[in-house]
Subunit: 353 residues, 4 copies
Amino acid sequence: MKSKKVAIVGASGYSGEILVQLLLNHPHAELVAVTSRQNAGQTLAQVFPKFASHPKSKSLRFSEPKAEVLAKQADVVFLALPHGVAAEYAIPLLDAGAIVIDLSADFRLKSADIYKEFYAHDHPAPDLLKKSVYGLPEIYREQIKKSLLIASPGCYPTSILLPLIPLLKSGLIKSTGIIADSLSGVSGAGRKAETDYLFCECNESVRPYGVPKHRHLSEIEEQLSLAAKSQVQIQFTPHLIPVNRGILTTLYLAPEKHFSTETEMKSLGEKISACYKKFYGNEPFIRLLEGKNLPDTKNVIGTNICEIAWRLDARTGRLIVMSAEDNLVKGASGQAVQSMNIICGWPETAGLV
Amino acid sequence: MKSKKVAIVGASGYSGEILVQLLLNHPHAELVAVTSRQNAGQTLAQVFPKFASHPKSKSLRFSEPKAEVLAKQADVVFLALPHGVAAEYAIPLLDAGAIVIDLSADFRLKSADIYKEFYAHDHPAPDLLKKSVYGLPEIYREQIKKSLLIASPGCYPTSILLPLIPLLKSGLIKSTGIIADSLSGVSGAGRKAETDYLFCECNESVRPYGVPKHRHLSEIEEQLSLAAKSQVQIQFTPHLIPVNRGILTTLYLAPEKHFSTETEMKSLGEKISACYKKFYGNEPFIRLLEGKNLPDTKNVIGTNICEIAWRLDARTGRLIVMSAEDNLVKGASGQAVQSMNIICGWPETAGLV
Amino acid sequence: MKSKKVAIVGASGYSGEILVQLLLNHPHAELVAVTSRQNAGQTLAQVFPKFASHPKSKSLRFSEPKAEVLAKQADVVFLALPHGVAAEYAIPLLDAGAIVIDLSADFRLKSADIYKEFYAHDHPAPDLLKKSVYGLPEIYREQIKKSLLIASPGCYPTSILLPLIPLLKSGLIKSTGIIADSLSGVSGAGRKAETDYLFCECNESVRPYGVPKHRHLSEIEEQLSLAAKSQVQIQFTPHLIPVNRGILTTLYLAPEKHFSTETEMKSLGEKISACYKKFYGNEPFIRLLEGKNLPDTKNVIGTNICEIAWRLDARTGRLIVMSAEDNLVKGASGQAVQSMNIICGWPETAGLV
Amino acid sequence: MKSKKVAIVGASGYSGEILVQLLLNHPHAELVAVTSRQNAGQTLAQVFPKFASHPKSKSLRFSEPKAEVLAKQADVVFLALPHGVAAEYAIPLLDAGAIVIDLSADFRLKSADIYKEFYAHDHPAPDLLKKSVYGLPEIYREQIKKSLLIASPGCYPTSILLPLIPLLKSGLIKSTGIIADSLSGVSGAGRKAETDYLFCECNESVRPYGVPKHRHLSEIEEQLSLAAKSQVQIQFTPHLIPVNRGILTTLYLAPEKHFSTETEMKSLGEKISACYKKFYGNEPFIRLLEGKNLPDTKNVIGTNICEIAWRLDARTGRLIVMSAEDNLVKGASGQAVQSMNIICGWPETAGLV
């Protein structure tokens, strides 16, 4: 299988670090460049002592991020940059023929207006919004294959969209009244030196934030609307909990068809089960839980897997769906590598198991 | 102020430990007996090294729990026992004239049938259900004053009922469709030697459990129904998170009156604000958050305070209410002491600040 | 008892926060001023939501730190400032007649030369070094009574000096070859927005730092030398562990008298036990552990207590002494309040139990 | 490369779980049996939901541990059993021609008398003590190649022996007065339902234990004595800290040759550096830290790597050596797999990177 050269722009954050780890050990990708303004000149081993045992860690040095240089070095470039900055790199890289996999929010929305509403500045490259593909492989595998610009989904959106899209596409739930209650580990906030994310501020603490209008709502609702073929608005509440990694999402849903008897509940349950099996039965990175098992972030940490379980509540008539993922892997870097594998024609699980 | 003698039955669990701490330092209560089958004969200092600096810790010894003995020793007896066992002690203690404050679920429900439905055995003393008062002082202060048997509320119920009851009583929200999503620290599971609660099973883990029908639903729904004056059923999902103490609850509610314009939202907001101020403006243990503040368990740990904040979401038309409490204090032992203070005619905050 | 007005300069760090908590609830001290450049103008309730239920929290506002203003407002001023900055405030405050209790390292050393060696700049007020008293009440109670300038000890020094000084003064151990291995919670690093202390950098991590010459060595060795009446040099290794609060120190010591038989060991053990009882038997804030108990930070968190236990090792001929304290209370703010109580003639435990 | 069939006896504990993970993904070993009394009959997926995405997890079932059956199924058998029990399985398995890799302490000592002294019962198979090889590959690689019975080292011993043996063999340090201060994550206590290891008992707690004579001393001292060619006794203090995985050891050592000048220190430093490079410069699983780096457990978690750093202290004349490892990988299961790789003639890093 033909290997490709890859680069990471913004490799010193948490997503960047996981990308480095995955790409150092990828069977077909060759990591040729990592950039970081702050660490330019230092080796991988110096910035990340944990990678020091890898043969490449002492030769590969962080460089200043320069699009023109990167375009010459690499076939595939991952952008792990803040919103708004990523677009600046994507344009010249695409022009120079590179495949761009962007982990920021810059190309996730189809509408530049909604981008402005949620990110409070004009979109830096509205024309590219038509070209980008939302990098959720389980939903957009065919489009990803043919794309040169992947907008890799956010961590919260992944944990919400993967369990919801099959139900909406199958018409099993109403597209109104959806509630997503999410719990995220602290790495979701990035490696930023802010008081709020100090150990002593997070340990022995649980707190909601960004209520009621978190930025990720924009891409969640756009994707749900596409699945439901109607405008969807949801309620979304993120909470910060004291773990390094992991997102647990609990979804409160109204089945399209009312159920009250045991028979009706059983019948609906079979439909839900069949729906998930149809969509995800063969997906290597979705784990449909069976029996009494419920999702637990500790069972997915370090993997590219999203766990999904559901329960019908005969008392309230609701469907409760729960998911767990590693916010830095399936919720960020692992999923980005999965998209790269698809684009490059490699096995989708290459470097991810 | 006249002091009283108090005893704790089942003093070696987590709630028991907090009761010991609060009562050792209470200005009017004198702790005269602590019981524990397992630790009988040992001093407080031996069982709880952390209390070893208290003058009483070397003289006060754990004894076998015997109702007749306790009735002679103490004016007030706290029962920190498992469900089903508490009732066995309450009957003889009440007969002997003691005030009983029960931290178990045994006397929280008015209906023996619902007790059986949720706890899977016949209620051990159905006659007492009429005599007990649900020990939520902010709601039942007057009844507590005159009662001899307090059923101190559970930790989840406290975090859900305190924010909800004012809204239901004021008719500001619909009594249907209520969703309570709760996150609890591990001490909520008690000091039980079970694999599920080992450090390595809880640390770096987040997980839902008891979905969709947790036992606490029974008392939550009974109390909400009383407040709403109609039958209320809610959706309740507890999650286990890696902190020692604390519960964070997020409530998803439908305002009785639809709002869509800015003006309507402002007007509704003022009503909600006024409602909470009316009910809790003078409550020493409710903290209504203002401005941008949202509840954070770290701000209530070790206190008897419940924090409450709310947000209206113009996009979805919902009201989001969030609360935080220390599950072992306001959610258990602190609240029980608060009830004792009321019954005994002491300042309600005695020993709690 | 006559009350006094107190102020805290630098009240927004972790030590400052504990000082606020202790002084808000102190029976004889009245907190009249809190300063913080960053938070000037905001109320206590705004900066620390956890204090919002205290009646004073909405009236007391943070101000800019100005020595002349503080000198008029307060009888006692606590300085919770960085090294080097504290001295600037101490001079005018002392001139204006205030009692100054400094939590920084500025006045802990008797020698301006050693200060320069360890802190890398000239001492800002070398004359005051003669006037300051090292605020370890168990050792310097009489001197503290008469002092106007207290140099409150560091967190590591407290955990090392309290167990060592009695043994050195009694001549039970050699003053050479002492090793102190300490483990500290992350609050010891202060509320600084530095990447190293982010939740994800500390959680699931244990690491030594400052090896082999940590700044606290200077005051530790000066105090040990005074106790031993000879020049003492020790080995000290601090480690960072993922807890909010607490220091656990393990000391490796050589008994002055060799022991090899059971009888010799028993005899030496009795001397050690008697030594500690003589020094600390009546101390309210020292807990000498008995039987099989070993120190555990969770038993001292939130208290002003230092736990001490020891073991003789017949195999190696060594004495192992272990101590535990809350770095922010006995290791900082609680101990500072203890000194204030002594100076002001209040019960030494006032506001600390 | 010829593959082999492997079995794990006692696969449901923490070491067992890591063995399962490593062997499921090993390129040359085929996991054919896992045993557990408690879970017999259940699939791997049922007992460990985290492995549910592995193709084998639904076909491989836990069985009752029966030596005769295992001997027929597997070429290599890992024993992850309590001390004393492992020997019962080793005897028949060896008789039947299997390679046995034992993770318990049963075959780590050469002397049955010392075993009895430390483990308080007669050794169950003293004859086998001569045949077993201590499975520390960096030290006993040649012996491991030819052995059929590997006594895989304990977690604390590994973290102490790896940094010490080169120094002792090179005569750079004295063999007397060695102190090892170790900090271990809670998984070291095993998956045992004991109150001491509950989340709330370990979180926000740090404590020493087993002072002064921990069982692991026996194998540590036997191995050090072999390296030093003289009887070595050390001081060893383990501490429990709130992390899932990881051991950090700090060693206090006396260089054989006194140093006091800069030149002497530099010269000694070069010898230490050369010594470690000679022993470990080409070892894939030892990382000699350079520059300012100190060991940090977070940099080795999930890997088979042991990090080592050292500092000379000119003030005290001591050498401080620090090491970090994952107690479940290099300290247990990873190291056991490393030994298997050596015995089977596979690349030593197979399945470990």
